[in-house]
């Protein structure tokens, strides 16, 4: 098989012979041409085995030459699971086979075939789980054997493909004559039409069997080129979703297509005959043999036998004769061809026709590397093969043409009812949703005239949403011939044999969906394109039910394998920056993600995180610090009902809040669970400026807008998070620093006390100043227009130099608030936490009558509190350091977890918060399980620091 099998023109319609290419496979260099796919180029060089099978490691080669099965999955330039019969050849391509330990010819993994009797279908469901603990030993072995292909960790990252959104009036899937006719009709009627085909050229089956279209293909191509229809070749539609959304992928793009109507002209998949050793390289579909010869100029063998059950097999035989193949015989499972002239032409070509003969088994060369002969036998009246009158025919090619099954996977995804119709012995569409038409061979059209007519009808404006014509010519009964020695493969992807299906049914899994799941039939990359009908036939035979009654499994996207890299959307990770981002970078901040925001964790090297945070915290305690809090959520509430509205959505009272003051705002949902918190600053009688957490503000705003669509209160809610740059300056020196840049406001404690808000001018910029104390020191939150953020930051930095002002990051902020015992929603609380658990029952109780959580809180109050947030402390040494997430134990029982903990450089010991079960005051110490070690820590009152709040109230 080493000699070149390349055929001269006119064979090889897709080749550009002026562009020779070199490539490597399994370490050896080969020649090919532009226009080849990898599999055709290898075949031209006599290489037929491309990989080994998934389970039994049997050599496998091309079957469909159209990417319809897993046999041709190879590893190319670091990327696994690339279909060799779809991959265009390029200069320098380097590929190797898959599922191989050693080489394809000498695969050490092939020894597993000798154990196949011990590996029946579903064996993994029934083994390895006993004795107890056995799985631990089996798992490494099984994991090493499992999987289809392996990614190359050293391979360069795959190039992101283009994602495009496209809209059209009519989307036509399939570029055969029916699809082309549909697109021409749609475009001719003024519709925006798109046509998709997974092959590099239009024509469908006519591309490799030109006799079908009888010369009309060229005129259809010309007519289509004359329209404005967009034609997408080498593009596979892998899924259809609600509202006529399609996903189409090519090597370089993923298209999200939205169509008003869809025409599916997806053709029909040629089916495999199931007989012993039907998986050998050299056994292929008749269409594959024709494709190799006509499209790629490759002689698919030297001596061939045809197994036929339709007239296409006769045309394949004639094509092979033209290609110089010695066709030994044609075994026809029928009495003879429908078109009697075909039989005459074969006889004229010297080809022996064996009517009512079927395949018993194929024989192989050494190592099962290629087919060497096929044994055929006459069929009895019952359809079984004679075991006595067998005949062995020497050949290196077995072309199987036993019929086609409409390709209706996409139709089923789109909502069409697809059934097995015994009347036509094929899959058929019974009912179509609005906006979907089926045309061509997919609608059982039996010739080009029917296909073109059905396509024209489906593409025309106002086409009915029903299948187009249905003819009885296309029949594809499943031909399955069991053999006493097995190895009759029903599903090549999973090495599934007839006996496996019989065992499945014998286990009681008779429903087709259970058959699929227990046996894995149809679950491989080919998604049952060739196996659905044989599986149906075997299950019907085993159960005695009719195929119609058994039905089909559910079709789900993707209809065709999708590379993961294709799904990766470019620009998929939006990020948000605060106005002062560059100031932080210039100061050497270590920026970390806080949701979509980038924020400084600390100012210094990444490795110095803890030390930097402690130093920054000490600066705040001793002098002053400033932090960019622009990420903090901001919402304006304006209007006559602003105060009343706030009293409905936040705990506490706001109607009596004097203008110029601030109140804590605790957001609680209807079930009484805390969802966010912030402060509400009353700027005017009908104007509140409310802050919420960085991560919670959007959800809170959505929720309250939803409420007000019902309440219709006269209040406007505007998100202003990004409209303001915000800086919190805190520490004993903060007032002095601020006074240097803010001359129009009395900053004294008497004139501007804690929990009040003022508007003033800072460094020439209009600002809102909020006197609040999240970090527990005298402090001011300064909110200025976003475009003035850098100006504010730089002005404060300059002003604060004499007083030791330092920037501090999130880590220091969290440490400082922990010293004050402030809880963080979502960190120290969870999706069930209600106010009493965090010590805010009093605030909730004082809420207005209309507060949405009022009733739930009252109910929870009656039930009591199963948990509470408790403070704890321990020495820095003397045991493992508590970690966030450390379990809190009571003996062997888990009663809670540590939610926040840190070493306090101010207090000189470790502090933390834990959310635990039980009433407050029950325990004086906690048992923390830290890395498997239990450490006892002391329960401590919060705030840990400045319990009288004297420092923040200065």
């Amino acid at each position: 098989m080493a000699e070149s099998a390349r055929l001269p023109p006119p064979f090889g319609t897709r080749l550009d012979r002026s562009r020779p290419l070199k490539f490597r496979f399994e370490g050896r260099e080969y020649d090919g041409y532009a226009g080849d796919v990898l599999a055709s180029a290898l075949a031209a060089n006599g290489v037929w085995a491309l990989s080994r099978s998934f389970k039994l490691h049997r050599p496998r080669g091309v079957v469909s030459m159209s990417g319809r099965e897993a046999n041709t999955l190879v590893h190319v330039d670091g990327v696994p699971n690339v279909l060799a019969d779809r991959l265009p050849l390029y200069q320098g391509l380097v590929a190797r086979g898959q599922n191989v330990r050693g080489s394809i010819e000498h695969d050490r993994g092939a020894m597993i075939a000798s154990l196949s009797h011990f590996l029946p279908v579903g064996f993994y469901y029934q083994a390895f789980y006993k004795p107890a603990g056995a799985w631990r030993h089996w798992e490494p072995l099984i994991r090493s054997l499992a999987g289809l292909g392996a990614p190359d960790a050293d391979a360069p990252e795959p190039r992101a493909v283009d994602h495009e959104f496209a809209t059209c009036d009519v989307a036509v899937v399939g570029g055969g004559v029916a699809g082309m006719a549909a697109a021409i009709a749609a475009a001719g009627a003024g519709a925006r039409a798109m046509l998709f085909d997974d092959q590099p050229c239009l024509g469908g089956a006519q591309d490799y069997d030109p006799s079908l279209a009888d010369g009309r293909l060229a005129s259809l191509r010309d007519a289509l080129a004359g329209t404005k229809a967009r034609v997408c070749l080498n593009t596979t539609v892998t899924g259809i979703f609600a509202d006529n959304a399609l996903i189409a992928i090519s090597a370089s793009a993923l298209l999200h297509v939205r169509a008003k109507r869809i025409v599916l002209a997806t053709g029909a998949d040629e089916q495999l005959a199931v007989f012993r050793n039907n998986d050998l390289p050299g056994v292929m579909l008749g269409s594959a043999a024709s494709r190799l010869a006509r499209c790629y100029g490759v002689r698919p063998g030297r001596r061939a036998t045809i197994v036929a059950a339709d007239d296409e097999g006769y045309r394949v035989a004639l094509t092979l004769v033209q290609a110089g193949v010695e066709v030994q015989a044609l075994a026809d499972l029928r009495e003879g061809p429908v078109d009697a002239t075909l039989a005459v032409r074969l006889e004229q070509a010297g080809i022996e026709i064996l009517p009512r003969h079927g395949p018993v088994e194929a024989h192989a060369t050494r190592g099962n590397m290629h087919v060497s002969s096929i044994v055929v036998a006459p069929l009895s009246a019952e359809g079984t093969l004679s075991r006595e009158r067998v005949r062995e025919i020497q050949c290196d090619l077995v072309a199987v043409s036993v019929g086609r099954s409409p390709s209706l996977g996409l139709a089923a995804q789109a909502g069409a009812k697809v059934v097995y119709d015994s009347a036509v012995q094929a899959l058929a569409v019974q009912d179509c949703p609005a906006g979907l038409c089926i045309a061509g061979a997919a609608a059982l059209c039996c010739d080009a005239d029917d296909a073109i007519a059905s396509g024209t009808e489906a593409g025309a404006a106002g086409a009915r949403a029903v299948p187009a014509t249905r003819k009885s010519g296309a029949r594809a009964p499943a031909f399955t011939f069991a053999h006493p020695k097995g190895k009759e493969f029903v599903d090549l992807d999973e090495d599934l044999q007839i006996g496996d299906l019989l065992d499945t049914v014998a286990h009681g899994y008779a429903h087709i969906e259970l058959v699929k799941r227990f046996s894995t039939a149809g679950m491989g990359p080919s998604q049952g394109k060739h196996s659905a009908l044989p599986v149906l036939a075997v299950v019907a035979s085993a159960t005695g039910a009719s195929p119609d009654a058994i039905g089909l499994t559910t079709a789900r996207p993707p209809f065709f394998p999708e590379p993961m890299a294709t799904l990766a959307e470019p620009h998929a990770e939006p990020f948000r920056l605060t106005p002062m981002h560059e100031c932080h970078v210039a100061l050497g901040a270590n920026m970390i993600a806080a949701g979509p925001w980038l924020r400084p964790s600390h100012y210094g090297a990444a490795g110095d995180r803890l030390a930097c945070a402690e130093n920054e915290a000490l600066a705040v305690r001793n002098n002053a610090g400033m932090i960019d809090v622009s990420t903090l959520g901001g919402i304006e509430f304006r209007g006559p009902d602003a105060a009343a509205f706030l009293e409905r959505v936040c705990a506490g009272r706001f109607a009596d809040t004097p203008v110029g003051t601030i109140r804590y705002a605790l957001m609680i949902d209807e079930s009484g669970v805390i969802i966010d918190d912030g402060v509400a600053a009353r700027l005017a009688d009908q104007h509140f400026y409310v802050t919420a957490t960085t991560s919670g503000v959007d959800a809170f705003l959505r929720r309250i807008r939803w409420w007000n669509t019902q309440w219709r209160m006269r209040v406007d809610m505007t998100a202003v998070t990004s409209a303001f740059a915000k800086v919190n300056i805190a520490g004993p020196n903060s007032r002095a620093i601020l006074a240097r840049v803010c001359q129009d406001l009395d900053l004294s404690g008497a004139a501007f006390p804690f929990m009040s808000v003022r508007t003033a001018t800072i460094a020439g910029v209009p600002a809102r100043l909020l006197r609040i104390g999240y970090v527990g020191e005298l402090g001011y939150e300064i909110h200025v227009p976003t475009s003035c953020g850098v100006h504010l930051w730089e002005t404060l930095s300059e002003s604060g130099k004499p007083d030791g002002l330092k920037p501090f990051g999130m880590d220091a902020q969290r440490l400082l608030r922990l010293e004050k015992g402030h809880f963080i929603v979502g960190r120290d609380s969870d999706a069930l936490t209600h106010p009493r658990e965090v010590g805010l029952a009093g605030l909730a109780r004082r809420s207005a009558a209309g507060f949405i959580a009022k009733r739930s809180i009252e109910m929870r109050e009656r039930l009591g509190s199963p948990r509470h947030l408790v403070g704890f402390r321990c020495e820095r040494d003397g045991g493992p350091r508590p970690q966030e997430g450390s379990l809190v134990m009571r003996g062997e029982t888990v009663i809670g977890r540590v939610t926040s903990t840190a070493y306090s450089p101010t207090l000189k010991h470790v502090i933390g918060l834990a959310l635990i079960q039980g009433a407050k005051g029950e325990s004086t110490e906690l048992e923390l399980k830290i890395g498997g070690v239990v450490r006892r820590v002391q329960v401590a009152k919060t705030p840990f620091y400045d319990p009288d709040h004297a420092r923040q109230s200065l």
Binding site: F165, T167, R576, T718
Partner: protein, 218 residues
């Protein structure tokens, strides 16, 4: 410290500088946006244009009192007065922007009208909260097709329409403008995403031979 010394800064300008894009004078805007586009696509940083939002039950009356015409229907954009674009985001919410072609004092007059009669109309400082990019050229649709699922070829996307959609996964307002005989778009979104969005639009525009420019803040 006087107001004259305030330096207004737009973070996205650093992104422009990274690619060697020098900020141009505002007077160059008409030529850049509605003049002949040398390439197939031109992307402009226009965040320095004055913008304002007005919302509330009396928003339309307020704008009319300030001498501005408003679109009759939501999701339409029109020239409210010479130099001022008025976009209706809903029946009671409007977005005002100085046109790139010419500035106008009208936005200030809206503030003055609001100060006189603020009841049930609310100003929104979109000049601070939104970035504003301009996009002109024949291949705008190709760019949008990479980032947005809307059908830009449909009548609902014609000039004069407002598209409130997702662009590169982010909430975005696109004003389909028709200025001085040449169509262009104003793209507005949350200013904290400006750097990400500029990077995304710029990289995408470059694939279609696009070019970029920026305007110094007004």
């Amino acid at each position: 410290m006087s107001a004259e010394r305030i330096r207004r800064a737009y973070l996205v300008h650093s992104e422009l500088a990274l690619h060697g894009i020098v900020l141009r004078d505002p007077s160059d805007m008409p030529a850049l946006l509605v003049g002949p586009v040398a390439g197939t696509l031109r992307l402009l940083e226009l965040s320095g244009l004055a913008r304002l939002g007005v919302k509330g039950p009396r928003a339309r009356a307020l704008l009319n009192a300030a001498g501005l015409d408003c679109p009759a229907e939501p999701n339409r954009v029109t020239l409210g007065a010479p130099g001022v674009i008025v976009a209706a985001l809903s029946r009671s919410e409007f977005l005002l922007s100085t046109t790139p072609e010419a500035s106008s004092p009208k936005i200030s007059s809206v503030r003055e009208a609001w100060a006189r009669s603020p009841d049930e109309s609310y100003l929104v400082e979109h000049g601070e909260s939104l970035y504003c990019f301009g996009l002109a050229g024949a291949r705008r649709q190709d760019l949008y097709a990479r980032l947005c699922s809307i059908d830009f070829g449909s009548p609902a996307s014609e000039p004069g329409r407002v598209l409130q959609t997702k662009l590169a996964r982010l909430s975005t307002i696109i004003l389909r403008c028709d200025g001085q005989g040449a169509a262009y778009d104003l793209i507005l979104g949350d200013v904290s995403f400006a750097t990400f969005m500029w990077r995304t639009l710029f990289e995408t525009a470059q694939r279609f031979g696009g070019e970029a420019a920026g305007i110094r803040p007004l």
